[in-house]
Every structure is written in structure tokens, then in C-alpha cells.
Symmetry: C2
Subunit: 150 residues, 2 copies
């Protein structure tokens, strides 16, 4: 009985966890998944970027729609960086696995800033949006600098 | 002034609309985006599928987490099927554009069923989950049959 409970806890805890490589049949599937998640994230982040940089007119509603998608997407890729996925065709540097605690910390900063970005868009204030966008973009860059090959 | 208001309405209405090809710089970007959105969707739908088919033990919490991701993802790909994206490398059949109203209708059925699937997972009842999963999977199949090449 104890074993069953422990197994149940383990399954439950691993559902969205960092090293749940078992959720993918093959390492290539995990890599394809995480690339896909970043592709969707980047598209919506880019639409906000156009507004933040003054290339598109600021529209609070559009900013909020995109920020919400980014905040949802920001939760997803990390469980696809499990052990065994570092040897597949990937732009992820070996540091993702060698310095996994730091990678996890940066991924959590991005998630936290993306939630703040949603809140900023909902104020309807362009300045608040731009500041939160810049902060979120900074978390992308700091992680890419250390953990992603160009 | 009237023109400004109309423009504002048009921009706002097009944000998540079906033919907003202008949101992508190139048709290839739209195709890459929609493929990515479906990749993420399929991964999470597949995890529920394993439970629905008895290949994995039913866990209402894991089912709910995956169902919520699918319901969020289900909103995304459609605006990337804009005019001009039918000539890129795609598995989408020409019928997506020739019978666009039907395509839109089926995409909306998938979205509606995925929302019901979230509700079903939250009941915690395996039977309700399986029934809603089957209904949602049916909307995938009916759209793929008519609008996606193998």
C-alpha cells in the first residue's frame, strides 16, 4: 500500500516536472515539442515586440491576448529538456544539463515575468506594458546567452 | 474620426481572426507556426489518449492539466491558415481555402469539445473523461479527413 501511494505521488509530481523525459517516446519527440513550444511563444512575443518598439500601434487588447498566450506557453517547454534529450539535434547547450539548477531558475524567471506582463497589459497603459515587456525580454536573452547556441 | 474608429475596430477584430495572414512576415512563418501549435497540441492530447485507451492509469489531475493545455492550444492555429499560405510546404489540402466556412466550423467544434473535455476531467470521473476524450478526438479526425493530407 505504501508503495502504491508513493508511486501515485511520484506520477502526480512528475506530470509537469522538469525531467519527465518519459512523457516522450523518443528524445527527438521531446526536441520537436520544445522547439514547437518556443516557435509559438516567439510568434506571440514578437507581436508584442512590434508594439513595444513602436513598429505597430499600441493596442492594449491585442497586447493582453498575446501576453496571455505567452504566459501559458512559458510553462510548457521545460519538461521536454529531460535527460537523454541533449544528444538529439538541438540548439540547447550542454550547460542545460550541466547547470540544470541555473537553467531551471532562469526558466522560472521568464514564467514569472510573463505573468507580470499579462497584468501590465491589463492596465491598458503603454508605459507599463513597455516596461514589463522589456523585463520579460531580458529573461529570454539571459537564458539564451547561457543555454542556447546561435 | 470615423475612419480612425473603423480602423481601430478592424485592427481589434483581426487580432485573433481567421485570415490574419499579415501577422506573419512570410507564408512559411505561418506554416511553421501552425505546425508548431499542432505539435504541442498532439503531445498533450496523446498523453490523455494513453489514459483513455487504458495504456496509462487514469489520473484526473494529469488529465485536467493536459486538457487545459489542449483547450488553450486549440484556439491558436487557425489564424495561421490565411490566404497566401496554401502554396507553402504544407499538409493542408486546398479545401482549407476552397471550403473555408466548413474548415472554420470544424475548427470551432474542436475548440468547443476541448472546453467540454476540461470540464469532464474536473469531474474526476473516468467515464466522463473517456466520453469527452472520444468526442474531442472525433473532431480532430473529421477535420483531418477532409482538410489534411496524410
Amino acid at each position: 500500500m505504501k508503495k502504491i501511494i508513493l508511486t501515485a505521488i511520484a506520477v502526480s509530481a512528475s506530470a509537469m516536472s522538469f525531467t519527465a523525459a518519459a512523457q516522450f517516446a523518443k528524445p527527438e519527440d521531446a526536441v520537436k515539442y520544445r522547439k514547437a513550444a518556443f516557435t509559438v511563444t516567439a510568434a506571440h512575443f514578437g507581436r508584442m515586440g512590434a508594439m513595444a518598439q513602436g513598429k505597430a500601434p499600441f493596442d492594449a487588447k491585442i497586447a493582453a491576448e498575446n501576453a496571455e498566450i505567452v504566459a501559458n506557453m512559458a510553462k510548457l517547454p521545460w519538461h521536454a529538456f529531460g535527460e537523454g534529450t541533449e544528444t538529439a539535434e538541438t540548439k540547447a547547450k550542454p550547460e542545460v544539463w550541466k547547470q540544470n539548477a541555473k537553467f531551471k531558475e532562469l526558466s522560472e524567471k521568464f514564467q514569472a515575468e510573463s505573468v507580470k506582463l499579462v497584468a501590465a497589459t491589463k492596465t491598458g497603459k503603454e508605459d507599463a506594458f513597455k516596461a514589463a515587456f522589456t523585463a520579460t525580454a531580458g529573461t529570454c536573452k539571459s537564458c539564451h546567452d547561457d543555454f542556447k547556441n546561435k
